[in-house]
Amino acid sequence: MAANGPATPRTPLPLHWLGIVPFALFALLFLIGPALYIVTGAFRTPDGGFTLANIRGLFTPSILASYWISIRISVASALLGCVIGFSIAAAVTLGNLPKGLRGPLMTFSGVASNFAGVPLAFAFLATLGRLGLVTVTLKSWFGINIYAMGFNLLSFSGLTLVYLFFQIPLMVLIITPALDGLKKEWKEAATILGASGFQYWRMVAFPILFPAILGTFALLFANAFGAVATAYALTGSSLSIVPIVLFAQIRGDVLQDPHLGYALAFGMIVVTGIANGLYVWLRARSERWTR
């Protein structure tokens, strides 16, 4: 590649861009291209003309209902994941607990945030399924039958509970560095000015952390919204959240029209795109403070 001899003066040839050609090609062919193909497909008729009919096809009660339950599950699991994850991270970083707790927590969070998909569904079926450990123990020791009380793993609350298993650790992993960024001086300054612990949190720490928290919320939302494997292994096709509907469309179980599939996928990109756009924007804002 470097063919110029040592004597020739190096002229700045505009060939630098050659170095990124492989990556650019890969990104175009296997990331951006396929996504654009879907997006444009959502606005095309089978013969290639422009149409809004596919998008209009999304506004049927059943598809709207599946978007709605997907959004509800994603919001609920992201919200609870943020609150619980934040509490755990705050407990470890600021809670005056033994120092040895932190390392194992971060390692476990790394493991659990990656323990999604089919095995996660199995774990919860073995625990809270009809014959699961917790279900059986509650029934035989305390006489509490959670299924008779209306609990069902294959439902909004059940799926939210399962998703928390990877949402909480992800929140812990992202928010711990932000909590570390809270400077001791701020706390001291607030105390000198007569602030109580609660006032410090409400008027100093929380406003600083808020963009980071909200941003992570957006990331967790997108994370839950796009998840297929856990829900599919848990419920089959019985709970029709958007990714499951799309999965069934692609598999051809309910094949009506591929362009409706494009529109479904386009809707997913729009929803996660909004969530992640929010994340990027808020992240940039929060980094101004914690630097």
């Binding site: 990556f23 809670g95 599919y232």
Partner: protein, 262 residues
């Protein structure tokens, strides 16, 4: 901050209960196959299943191919952009974040449509082509993690000085990358590699929709048809994920010890 000590323990306790119960439940359930007593029958049944070996072997090979391809793609690119085109870094960062924005199911839907048998590049037409497509898909999914790991590694070394030193000794680009840059970011590359391995091994959507005999679809199939084996498989999967994360910790620790004291 004495007040919040109670709340801190409470938060930890809630966390421990929530995360420990499913793991305990799974382990307990996986031992229940034989009526009336605990046994390892479920594990024995899983390990005796030839499809377990086939699909697991397939996924391991896919993971290794993905890691090799990912390293060959990401290390030179990240290096080159850092050295020659720093203005492109934000763009590169944005592109490598995209797989977190676009759900995997949408990406694979795009693959199926773009590379079907009547397209210009009919990858899905043959088994080998589909394997290749699946590997590219896995590389795409792991891109955010791989790029971030490598970029962190590159940030810790003086890329420009190392390059100039190597060039003044007569090294070409390939030699610089293989003998100077890669060894210096090896720890970072390894943590990216283990994370990629953990992602690929249990991945379901891509393999299922591209119809390849990978471990993820096998897990789903067993889950739909068996009672106790899924729990055993979940325990095995958890152990694999744990091993990958443990190896990341180990290589990071190792790198701290090998740095010469100044």
């Amino acid at each position: 901050m004495k007040v919040n000590r109670f709340w801190s323990w409470l938060a930890i306790a809630v966390g421990v209960i929530y995360f420990a119960l499913p793991l305990l439940g799974t382990i307990e359930f996986s031992l229940r196959m034989r009526r009336g007593e605990y046994s390892l029958d479920a594990y024995r049944a899983v390990l005796a299943d030839p499809r377990f070996h086939e699909t697991f072997g397939y996924s391991v090979i896919m993971a290794i191919c993905t890691i090799v391809f990912g390293v060959l793609l990401v290390v030179p690119t990240a290096y080159w952009v850092r050295l020659k085109m720093p203005r492109l870094r934000p763009l590169l960062e944005f592109i490598t974040l995209l797989p977190l924005v676009i759900p995997p199911i949408v990406i694979v839907f795009g693959y199926i449509r773009m590379y079907n048998t009547s397209s210009l590049l009919p990858l899905t037409g043959s088994a080998m082509g589909t394997n290749l497509l699946l590997m590219f898909g896995y590389a795409t999914l792991s891109l955010p993690y791989m790029y971030r790991a490598v970029d962190t590694g590159l940030r810790a070394i003086d890329v420009r000085s190392l390059t100039e030193a190597a060039q003044s000794l007569g090294a070409g680009w390939v030699l610089i990358l293989a003998r100077v840059i890669l060894p210096n970011v090896l720890i970072a590359v390894l943590s990216g590699a283990f994370l990629t391995f953990a992602i690929v091994i249990g991945e379901f959507v891509l393999a299922a929709l591209l119809n390849r005999p990978a471990f993820g679809p096998y897990l789903q199939l067993i889950g739909a048809n068996r009672a106790y084996e899924p729990a055993a498989l979940a325990v095995i999967s958890f152990a694999i994920t744990w091993a990958c994360m443990g190896l990341i910790q180990l290589v990071t620790q190792f790198s701290k010890h090998t740095k010469a004291p100044r």
